[in-house]
């Protein structure tokens, strides 16, 4: 099958799919018009263009091919539940296997079924080749070598040998190397092959040739492994009488979770997102969506996630039915459940380590809201407020997502944020707060190096006893100079402080009763014109 609907206008013109292969762009597949003109799969694009200058090409997209095959498989489920995909490869394109044993009579016989498949596919815009036979091998051969006129090829029951013996050896699913060797030996058709003694064939080619031949003739079984239908993970419970009590809803939710988790366990999957819907008798509904940080399959954990929200549920006139839908899953290996609960032997702690934490974080996030459970993150920056940040607790920090200049700095100084102990305050105010410095001379102690005798902050006055500094921290000067016209108000002042390269002189000071502060002084006023009115001293942090 080839050429899905979007390429329908090109059906009559030479058209090919190309793929890069071993350093050259080659034709992966070509339509009948192109093949008639001499463009065969395997030809390089340059050669193909030389043969057919008007050749239309499009790049191969294996993922889209696979998705299309999956969709067709779902479509073909109307004929039989026993379906399989034959993947794309060099032996003649992809295909679908339909095992119609016991199904043909529902469509009025084998011929009628074939016609039905063909007409429906044609209507969908697909060109198809259909082969029907006793064995998959024979059907494969019939579909590829007996359908030159376009009509479905049907090999009558038990007559593979008579019907297919004149076919070329390419009708067997052999590797290109084997085919080439057979060709060189003069073995061109199946009839040639069938008369050869088996022992020398096996000695020369291994099992391959005889196996394919036996599969075609039905001497060896070739089971199809069917693609199972993926049922959505939905569980639903109906009530004979409307319910309204929270306990009843909880009990029902437990049942739903149990049934879903058993199914997920079988499929080795875990829940990432889940929607719980409550349908009331008056045709109104409520939905509670829930996400987890990592795949989960433990009903009691999921139940605890929901329990926080069930309390706020309004039962109205009564609840008619409940539905639980898994909207996202992740692969999750099977695990052995813990047997003892409550005790914590060391070995158990180690084996379980990390799982419980992730579950706890899920539970906290479910109640506190997403983004409320965080880990501190240390960033490579010399500017204090930029050196620290927060990331969601379950995410792993990805260096690549950091801004470019930070990443460069991180490469230069891999442990930028790891300061000398005691150099940074335990509390850092989100925004530096301006303080009123005491006039110099009010309580001067002449021997200490003192930037200022005291200050008042949040209506409290602190007299300083000792100080250490200054630690001069320049802004990110590489981000460009201050735009002269934007620094109008106090509001924009601090954004400029961060981005524009204002220099700050940090002092660690201790008040008379021992409290320690991190103050900074702006040695150069940002606005020369209004230098007198601008605060110059700021409080940025508190030390222990």
């Amino acid at each position: 099958m080839s050429e899905p609907a979007p390429y329908a206008p090109w059906r009559k013109k030479p058209f090919a799919v190309i793929a890069a292969d071993a350093g050259a762009v080659r034709i992966a597949a070509a339509n009948s018009a192109a093949r008639a003109a001499g463009v065969d799969p395997g030809l390089s694009l340059t050669d193909a263009r030389a043969v057919v200058p008007t050749l239309k090409v499009v790049e191969a997209d294996p993922a889209a091919d696979r998705a299309c095959l999956d969709a067709m498989l779902a479509w073909a489920r109307r004929y039989t539940p026993w379906l399989a995909i034959e993947g794309l490869d060099e032996r003649g394109g992809a295909g679908l296997w339909l095992d119609i044993t016991g199904c043909a009579h529902l469509f009025g016989g084998e011929q009628a079924l074939l016609q039905d498949v063909k007409s429906r596919l044609n209507r969908l815009g697909f060109v198809c080749r259909l082969g029907l036979a006793d064995t998959p091998g024979a059907a494969w051969a019939a579909a590829r070598c007996l359908t030159s006129s376009g009509a479905p090829a049907c090999v009558p029951e038990g007559e593979q040998r008579t019907h297919l013996s004149m076919l070329p050896t390419t009708a067997l699913r052999l590797s290109p190397r084997t085919l080439e060797t057979l060709n060189r030996l003069g073995v061109r058709t199946l009839a040639d092959l069938l008369v050869l003694p088996r022992a020398p064939l096996t000695r020369r080619f291994g099992q391959e040739v005889c196996l394919r031949l036996d599969q075609l003739l039905g001497r060896v079984d070739e089971p199809l492994s069917p693609e199972m239908e993926r049922l959505p993970y939905v569980a639903r419970i109906n009530f004979a009488e409307p319910i309204g009590r929270t306990e009843d809803v909880e009990a029902a939710l437990r049942d739903l979770l149990d049934s879903l988790c058993v199914r997920l366990e079988k499929d080795r999957k875990g829940i990432r997102r889940l929607v719980f819907e409550v349908f009331r008798v008056d045709n109104t509904a409520d939905r509670i969506a829930m996400g987890t940080g990592q795949a989960v399959r433990r009903p009691e954990h999921l139940f605890r996630l929901f329990r926080e929200k069930i309390d706020g549920l309004d039962a109205g006139f009564g609840i008619e039915f409940l539905m639980l839908t898994v909207t996202a899953t992740d692969l999750m290996a099977s695990e052995q459940e813990r047997i003892s609960i409550g005790t914590k032997p060391e070995s158990e702690r180690a084996s379980q380590s990390g799982r419980d934490l992730a579950l706890l974080i899920d539970r906290l996030e479910a109640r506190l809201g997403s983004g409320r459970v965080v880990r501190p993150q240390i960033r490579a920056s010399h500017i204090p407020e930029r050196a620290a940040g927060f990331v969601p607790a379950l995410s792993r920090v990805n260096q690549a997502t950091l801004p470019g200049d930070v990443r460069e700095a991180a490469l230069l100084h891999s442990d930028f944020g790891r300061m000398r102990p005691g150099a940074r305050p335990i509390h850092l105010l989100p925004k530096p707060e301006s303080v009123d410095p005491m006039p110099v001379g009010a309580s001067a102690s002449p021997t200490q190096v003192m930037p200022l005798p005291g200050f008042s902050w949040r209506r409290q006055t602190y007299h300083l006893a000792a100080a250490e500094g200054p630690e001069r921290i320049a802004g990110s000067w590489w981000r460009g100079a201050l735009p002269p016209d934007r620094s109008k108000e106090q509001q924009s002042y601090f954004t400029l402080c961060e981005d524009g390269g204002a220099v700050r002189e940090y002092w660690r000071v201790e008040s008379e009763d021992g409290a320690r502060f991190w103050l900074f002084y702006l040695p150069f006023p940002l606005l020369q014109s209004r230098a007198d009115h601008q605060p110059r001293w700021f409080l940025h942090g508190l030390f222990a």
């Binding site: 300061m419 000792a466 009763d513 222990a544």
Partner: protein, 271 residues
């Protein structure tokens, strides 16, 4: 309790039973020593008992009025870091705090130097104190958590504290209830109650700041008696030590320092 000796085995058995009921530790594994003989001796267990609730309040001073208690925060952070280091596993500390309050201004690089690295700490920023308490209780029940710290501004009811204490016993996790500046020492279900405040540091022999000093008060202690110490906190080694008796800051008693100052001022004059 350990000091009492020479009693009948019956009495010993009874004591053991009471201790069991109280849920206090019996083995040395459940005890975190301060590494400071004076403090460890003042505690009846020879250290800080684990798997229970401790109450740490900041001094009721000007900073406490603004909701800050940097000394108490550092004290608790240092204790949990020490606890985590002792366990040898990659445990985690859960810090529950109401967001948009003074408590939510913790600075990562400083916590890092205290020994609470960024992968060892999870912050739960609650909407209000009720949510923070709920998060604390959840954390105390989780076996992967080594310690839970709750920064709360208002005093708790006895029932709430008792609930946390029971959760800590059940989960085997140590809880720290951290409150800035609480005036009255009300009844408490916590096993110990500490008051941490900044104390003026001793001037060093060079211009600048001396070692951080705290007044560390053991306000309440089950089976123990209150005590008070002035300790010096060493940033470099993350250890406490008892401060030498505090001296007046006048320079007469520190001739060495005076000379150091003179030297620096002379240098400055030359510069």
């Amino acid at each position: 309790m350990h000091g009492v000796s020479g009693t009948s085995p019956k009495l010993e058995a009874l004591r053991e039973q009471i201790q069991k009921i109280e849920g206090l530790p019996r083995t040395s594994e459940d005890i975190l020593p301060f590494g400071l003989a004076d403090i460890d001796e003042a505690l009846p267990w020879g250290g800080l008992p684990l798997a229970c609730l401790h109450h740490v309040v900041g001094e009721d001073d000007a900073l406490g009025a603004c909701g800050f208690a940097p000394s108490a925060v550092t004290f608790v952070a240092a204790l949990t870091a020490r606890l985590k280091a002792r366990r040898k596993e990659c445990g985690t500390v859960l810090w529950c705090l109401p967001r948009y309050k003074a408590a939510d201004t913790l600075y990562g690089p400083a916590l890092n130097t205290l020994g609470l690295s960024e992968d060892a700490l999870v912050l739960a920023r609650a909407k209000d104190e009720t949510e923070a308490l709920w998060a604390m209780e959840e954390g105390l029940c989780c076996p992967d958590i080594d310690a839970v710290i709750g920064s709360l501004a208002s005093p708790l009811s006895l029932a709430a504290e008792r609930r946390l204490q029971l959760a800590a016993e059940r989960g085997g996790t140590t809880g720290f209830l951290l409150q800035p500046g609480l005036a009255a020492a009300s009844a408490s279900a916590a096993v110990t109650r500490w008051r941490v405040g900044a104390a003026p540091s001793a001037p060093p022999l060079w211009p600048g700041l001396g070692q951080t000093r705290w007044t560390l008060t053991l306000d309440r202690c089950r089976q123990g008696t209150p005590h008070s110490w002035t300790v010096e906190w060493c940033d470099e080694t993350c250890t406490f030590r008892l401060a030498a008796p505090l001296c007046d800051r006048s320079l007469d008693q520190f001739p060495g320092q005076a000379s150091a100052h003179e030297r620096t001022s002379a240098l400055r004059a030359v510069a």
